[in-house]
Symmetry: C2
Subunit: 372 residues, 2 copies
C-alpha cells in the first residue's frame, strides 16, 4: 500500500468531517467519508447519531449515480454487519465504487477486516492505514470499549493550587471560576455517561446535566446518562439530578424501595468487601464500568468527591484527568484531590501531561495515566 | 515632560544593559546607563557589584571627553550620597552632561529626588518616568526593601499534581526532574539569601548553594547567604550546608555553644509564644526578614518544609511562589504543600498567576500573592 499526497488530502477532509457528530454519535463511532472521482470531491458524509445513516451512506446519497468508479476515503473501516442501517460495505459495492481507503480497521478484533473482505470479494481495491493516528483521536472511547470492554474514563477535578477540592466542613462552591465551569459543560456533552456519588448528590444537590445552549440546541443532542453510585441507598427521589431531561442510573448493591421518577433506572452491581461502612469503594467500580460498556457507553466522565474518584484512581480505572486549578490556597486542613493512601515514592502514580491552557483565571490541565 | 521615540529606544537600551549585573549586584540595585550625543551612543555602562563603579560612572568612563553636552539615560535616579564610590549625580555634573533622563526616582523615600536636585542645581535638564514599569522589574527586591524595610520573598515549592511535598515518612527525593532542579540553581543565584529550616538540614542534609557553572564561573559572583532557622539548636556543626563557600546565618532564640565553622554567624531573633514545641513558628519570622533587610538583602528564597514555608505564608510574608509541579500523584497521606490551617473558603488565600512554563516533564508556575 502506498498513498499519494492527494490520498492524504482527501483523508484529511474525511477526518475533518467526522467531528461534526462529536456530541451526538454517542454509542457509535465518529466517522467521516469523502467520495472522489477524477480528482473532484463528489460526495461527503459523516455519522450524526445512532439509528441515522452512516458516513458512507450519506456520502453515497450525496454523490448519487456518479459514485460509480469513485474512490471512497473513510476514517474507519466500513461496517459489515446488519445493524439499524444495513452494512456500509455492501452499499459501497452496490454503488459501484472502485477503491476504498480506510484510515483504520474496525478496532473490534471480532469484526476487524470483515468490511474490507466484502469489498475485496466484489473486486474493489481496498487499502487502510492512511492517517491512522489522526483517525484514532476521533474515537478514543469507542476504541477502548471495542478493545478492552471498558469505556474511556475521564476524571474531572476542580481544585486549588495546593490540591484541595473542598474545605474540611464540605464547603466547595465555587473553587474555580465561571469560565471553567462552562468548560465542564463541553466535557459533559462529549460523554455518554457522568458518574457521581451519593455524597455529592446529597450534599451539593447538583444537576449534572448539559445546559449550555451550544450543545442542547442541536436537535440530535441527547443528555449523557447520569450515574449515581448509592451503595447505601440514601439518595431521595426528589434529588435535583433526577429532575432534568435524560436517563439516570441509580447504582447500588440492592434495589431501593423508594419510588423514583420514570427516568431513573435502578442497577444492582456486586459489592466488594469493604473496610469502611461509608466508603463508596463498596460498589465494584470495574463491574459498573463493564456494565456501562455493555450499554454502549464509550466515554465516561467522573464528577465526584475525593473518596469516590480516589477509588477509581486507586483501582487504575481512570484514563485521563482534566484538572481545573484555581489560583488560590485552601490550606492543609481541606480535603485532598483524591483519597489515595500511598506510603512510599515508589508507589507514586506517574502521569503524562497532554495539554495545558488558561481558562479565565484557572488553569486547565489534561493528564494521561501512564499504563504499565 | 514628554519623551520622543528616540528617548524610548535609548532607555530600552539602558534597561537591556542593567541585567548584566543580574546575579552580582546583590545588595545594590541593577542599573543601566546610556550616554547619547548627536543621536549616537557614546557610552554604555551597568553596575556589576557592590564596591565597583555605578552604571553612570562606567558609561562616563566609556564616553570620555565626549560626554560633554550629552544626554544620559539611566534606569534609576543617579545617587546623591557618598557611598563606596562617590555620588553619580556629581560625576554627571563634572562631566558636563546636558540632560539626564531617569526611568524612575530612587525608591527610597528618604533619598528620592536628591540626585535630580543636584543635577538641576547645576543647570542640567532632568526628566524621569520614562519606561518606569519596565525599570521597576529590574529591582523588585531592592524596591521592596527601600519602601517596606523588608526583602522580597519567594517561596520555592517542588510538589506533585496533588499538592504534596513529601511522603508521610519524610521521603521527598526527588519529586521533580533534573531540569527543574537545575532551574532552582538560577533562583538561588539571583537571591541574596536562602532560608531553610533545621528539619530540612537534619533530615535531607542539603548543600543549598549555587553549583551551576553558568553562575559560579563569573568572578564577581558571591554565594547567597544560607540562613538556617534552628530555634531548638539541633543543627550540628558538620552539616553539609556549612561546608561550602559562602556565609551562613544560624538563627535561633539563643546562642548555641556548639563550635561552628568560621563562615557561620549565629543570630538571635525574638521567639514568639508558640503553641507547639517543635514548630518553626517559634522564631519571629518577620523580625528575621527585617534583620535580613537591614543587612542589605533584597531577595530572599525560602526552600524549606511545609511547616516553615506555611508559617511564612500564614503570616503574609511571602510575595511570590515558584512551584515546580511534577506529573504524578503522591496520595492523600503525603505531606501538604503548606501547613496552613484554614476553615472556610472565605479564608482562602488568593493568588495571581504570573507565568507558566514546562521544564522537563514538570510545570513551573509563578504566582503572586494578592495584596489587600
Amino acid at each position: 500500500m502506498s498513498f499519494t499526497a492527494q490520498d492524504s488530502s482527501y483523508m484529511a477532509r474525511a477526518i475533518q468531517l467526522a467531528p461534526r457528530g462529536w456530541f451526538t454519535t454517542r454509542t457509535n463511532p465518529r466517522v467521516g467519508c469523502v467520495l472522489v472521482k477524477d480528482n473532484i470531491i463528489i460526495g461527503e458524509g459523516w455519522h450524526e447519531k445512532p439509528g441515522f445513516a452512516h458516513a458512507e451512506i450519506n456520502a453515497l446519497n450525496h454523490a448519487g449515480e456518479s459514485a460509480k468508479g469513485a474512490t471512497a476515503y473513510v476514517t474507519l473501516e466500513p461496517c459489515a454487519h446488519h445493524g439499524k442501517t444495513g452494512p456500509c460495505a455492501e452499499a459501497l459495492v452496490e454503488a459501484g465504487v472502485a477503491r476504498v481507503v480506510a484510515a483504520m480497521l474496525d478496532p473490534n478484533p471480532l469484526v476487524a477486516g470483515k468490511g474490507m473482505k466484502i469489498l475485496e470479494k466484489a473486486g474493489i481495491k481496498t487499502e487502510y492505514g492512511l492517517m491512522q493516528a489522526q483517525a484514532e483521536t476521533l474515537n478514543p472511547g469507542f476504541i477502548k470499549r471495542m478493545t478492552k470492554g471498558l469505556p474511556r474514563v475521564i476524571a474531572k477535578v476542580g481544585m486549588s493550587l495546593d490540591g484541595r477540592t473542598a474545605m474540611a466542613i464540605g464547603e466547595s462552591q465555587w473553587i474555580t471560576g465561571a469560565s471553567a465551569r462552562r468548560d465542564v459543560q463541553r466535557l459533559r456533552a462529549e460523554s455518554g455517561a457522568i458518574i457521581t456519588g451519593s455524597g455529592t448528590v446529597v450534599i451539593d444537590n447538583p444537576s449534572m446535566n448539559v445546559r449550555e445552549q451550544a450543545f442542547t440546541a442541536n436537535p440530535h443532542f441527547t443528555q449523557p446518562v447520569r450515574v449515581i453510585i448509592d451503595s447505601q441507598n440514601i439518595v431521595e427521589p426528589d434529588a435535583k439530578i433526577f429532575s432534568h431531561e435524560g436517563h439516570c442510573w441509580l447504582v447500588s448493591g440492592h434495589l431501593s424501595e423508594k419510588g423514583y421518577p420514570a427516568n431513573v433506572e435502578q442497577k444492582t452491581v456486586a459489592l466488594l468487601p469493604g473496610k469502611d461502612e461509608v466508603s463508596h469503594q463498596k460498589v465494584d467500580l470495574k463491574a459498573l464500568l463493564i456494565m456501562l460498556a455493555e450499554a454502549g457507553i464509550n466515554d465516561v466522565l467522573i464528577e465526584a468527591g475525593s473518596g469516590l474518584v480516589g477509588a477509581f484512581v486507586a483501582q487504575e480505572l481512570v484514563d485521563e484527568l482534566v484538572v481545573y486549578m484555581a489560583p488560590k490556597l485552601m490550606g492543609s486542613a481541606a480535603r485532598p484531590m483524591f483519597q489515595l493512601p500511598l506510603e512510599t515514592m515508589q508507589q507514586n502514580i506517574e502521569l503524562t501531561l497532554n495539554d495545558i491552557r488558561q481558562i479565565g483565571n484557572d488553569l486547565r490541565l489534561n493528564y494521561y495515566f501512564k499504563k504499565a
